[in-house]
Amino acid sequence: MENAIEVKGMQKIFGEHTAINKVSFNVKQGEIFGFLGPSGSGKTTTVKVLTGELKQTVGDVKVLGIDSENFGSSAFKSQVGILSDNSSLYERLTIYDNLKLFCKLYGAPLKQIDVVLREVNLHDERSKIVSTLSKGMKQRVLLAKALIHNPKLVFLDEPTSALDPGNMAHIHRGLQKLNEAGTTIFLTTHNMEEATELCDRVAFLHNGELQELDSPNSLRYKYSTHAFHVETFKGNRLVIDNQPDQADQIRDLIANGEIKAMHTDNPTLGQIFLKVTGKELE
């Protein structure tokens, strides 16, 4: 089985509203897959369908070779970890007791609790009552909960939205390590730097339709104007097309030692996002 997720012609309709419209894509085993799109584009709905919380109106959905009909089975549940946008914890219990519950429900060894607590940088806070935690700390406990049973595939719906840069970097390293150990990660985010840094491939969703799907680098190349931006010591800024008939101009600039800086015009994922969706970044 090469694909961790296979989606064909998926549609999700709420009453009159089509939240996802004929979306098809595959997520390969072992990759970090980023699902990007503006607020309301259908990211969370997609995660919910892929995790069995919602049933697609039309289409074929397969996760880890399991058909969506069987997402209620323990074979599915024990292989999949989920951090949904509305996940929550037992507020009156400690971090440790929360994780202990899920450790036992998944039949994982209790020593996993310490492993995941270190992964999310909360080992020293394990005896704190959840209601006393900050939003970012709760988010990290939820992430720990999603990883407690060492799942093959994890769905993370905006896992880092409440984190400070230090903890964000810590979590990113943790996710990369997890991925190197073989875990497939399906991630939604509004943070384009995060997507660029982490994801092997990203998909852009807009109004419930898939607009783009490729590696961040390929997309940046695709949306590039392929021109060179040159800044000279005299303070001029030139845009030179990447065309054979422009070669002389560039050669002359180099020969005369005029170039202060030169770079190609590859847009960031954020700029591509704006182009694809015609929307401001949230």
């Binding site: 037992y90 036992k104 429900l105």
Partner: protein, 230 residues
């Protein structure tokens, strides 16, 4: 169904309950009720009164705590996390029922001991109490399953308490013996448990069983509804 998962839920709820002040108020007020009575009335309490205390315990503590625990999981969205795990809804309910059973046993013992438990220390009385427990437990599970919030459960708990928990009180309304209300409420679980205690055996046992089957059916329908909800 898995013993390990039931135990995990049981352990979690047993730890959580003492920290849940709102829920603790239920057994506490039940015991207070017994205390107030024993301080104001002298001598042996009438048997109907012992059953009134039992009814108060089963409705407030058994049904009340059970429905609140389930409704809170719905309201706070923690139910989702449980369902996403390999735990089945049945595991979750059995784990919670065990916790409810323990709290019920403690508050029933304490409140009955305050007013005088001796008359109920016999086979027939205990059978009646166990059947009443089952009835109120099932009612609590059913209501908890369809309640989306804790606030909603208190609205449902009131009628359960007054109809089924405090049924012997209706005798104090001075209605005619053969009025439709008296004849109806005489078939209610507590009245049948009293009947079981001091008159017949098989007839009230049958009626109590019918109540339990009815409650089980209600719970099953709520269960199905939750499982098939989008």
């Amino acid at each position: 169904m898995s013993v390990q998962r039931i135990h995990a839920i049981f352990e979690k709820d047993l730890k959580d309950l003492p920290r849940n002040i709102a829920l603790l108020m239920l057994p506490v007020s039940n015991i207070l009720l017994a205390l107030i009575y024993s301080l104001t009335v002298d001598g042996e309490p009438p048997i109907a009164f012992l059953y009134l205390i039992a009814g108060a315990t089963f409705s407030m503590v058994t049904s009340g705590i059970m429905m609140s625990m389930i409704a809170e999981e719905n309201e706070k969205n923690t139910m989702r996390g449980l369902i996403q795990s390999p735990a089945s809804l049945l595991d979750i309910i059995i784990g919670k029922s065990l916790v409810t059973g323990i709290i019920t046993a403690i508050s029933l013992m304490v409140s009955l001991m305050i007013v005088g438990i001796e008359p109920l220390m016999n086979f027939r009385a205990i059978i009646g109490l166990i059947l009443m427990f089952l009835f109120f437990l099932l009612v609590g599970i059913g209501i908890g399953l369809f309640s989306k919030s804790l606030a909603a459960t208190s609205g449902y708990l009131m009628p359960v308490m007054f109809l089924f928990g405090f049924t012997p009180m209706i005798a104090t309304f001075q209605l005619a013996e053969d009025s439709i209300i008296i004849r109806t409420t005489n078939t209610f679980p507590i009245m049948q448990a009293i009947e079981l205690y001091d008159n017949n055996f098989w007839m009230p046992l049958g009626i109590l069983t019918a109540w339990i089957i009815g409650a089980a059916l209600f719970t099953f329908i709520c269960f199905r509804k939750v499982m098939t909800d989008d």
